[in-house]
Assembly symmetry: C2
């Protein structure tokens, strides 16, 4: 009985890692569809998001069943309750990747990102991939130190976003209203994507140490 | 022992209702600070948000303690696990009210909302107040029917947001880049505010019926 319970816990953590892999594919493809105006790829990201939402429902149900049937305590209770939150954060990250793809689809065959902002969004996409990758590895290796690094990666995303505002609203800006709307929202989606990864990191640290890190660098999702 | 446990559960639901009241004040004041360019009021919303974040931490800790110490089952387990989620959604709604206030503060003494969009944001503010009010009452009265109404209110918010895009990007639009950035982001904050209220409603229904409603009208947060 205990063995099968521990197997269940391990299988939940494995599923979280698998879900993080799918989120990485989603943000990679969503960003590519945006930066190359690739309609097929954008469509794929939007339709694949249903699978992440399904996993969210399924995993939450599985965690609640374990809570109800096994009444876990201490570290195991922390793991299950954290898993419920992590699965939620990952599903939200998938939603954000789909939001990015939807903007690419909306503007197709034009590029949603104004040309002068392409390098900035390319960098945001790289940071998004780096942060979900780091979140997944921290989860996989139960690595609290690795999870702490997420806040540093997130800080780089925030700098890029502030820079986008400065350029859009600068005196020599030539951006159109449509371009400005897209940059403002896309920037927000990438920024939130990183915030959710940081929230995953907080939960990984909580699973390992039993304490949730606080402070400016650790936003509440 | 059982009595004190039920008292704990009731006190958690009471705290959620109280938190929803604070969120209503936050969105009311945040919206007013935005629409009247009231710096003092904006500052108050931003600084009061810390109290909601503190309640979030405290309530989550309380719920986890009950899970660990009481090992609740069935309806009581559903209530505790849902409370953890509701408290998160309410804290996010508070953050969004603070985001609105921060934009008001950023543009002060100017008005962030372009004049021709003021009626639209006034309506969004009214809907935001209506939806948090309805969410609170559903929670207070354990009213699944009332919680179902939240999706209808949310649909009205979505219509307003689409209308804002149509007008900003229309041929006869005279909006500035700064105005467009603010309308795009403020519209997103109000839209998300309503989404979180709908997510609260889903959890209220889950507490009462044991089933989470699905479908287009019930976005995952």
């Amino acid at each position: 009985m205990r063995t099968s319970y521990h197997e269940e816990l391990d299988s939940i953590l494995d599923s979280l890692v698998h879900m993080a892999e799918l989120v990485e594919v989603a943000i990679r493809d969503g960003s590519e569809s945006l930066l190359t105006a690739d309609l097929g790829r954008a469509e794929a990201v939007v339709s694949n998001d249903a699978e992440l939402d399904r996993m969210h429902e399924e995993m939450e149900y599985k965690c609640l069943s374990i809570l109800a049937l096994q009444a876990p305590v201490a570290g195991e209770l922390r793991t299950i309750v954290s898993a419920i939150r992590v699965v939620f954060e990952l599903a939200r990250m998938g939603d954000l990747a789909a939001h990015v793809a939807k903007i690419a689809r909306l503007r197709y065959p034009a590029h949603a990102v104004p040309e002068e902002f392409e390098p900035s969004f390319r960098e945001m996409a790289d940071i998004a991939i780096e942060i979900i990758d780091q979140a997944r590895v921290s989860l996989q290796n139960r690595d609290a130190k690795g999870a702490e690094r997420l806040a540093e990666i997130d800080a780089r995303m925030d700098v890029l976003r502030r820079d986008q505002f400065t350029r859009m609203l600068g005196e020599d800006s030539t951006i159109s209203v449509e371009g400005a709307v897209d940059v403002a929202l896309l920037g927000r989606y990438f920024e939130r994507f990183a915030d959710h990864a940081v929230a995953v990191g907080r939960r990984v640290i909580y699973i390992i140490t039993g304490t949730v890190p606080e402070g400016e660098d650790w936003p509440n999702a």
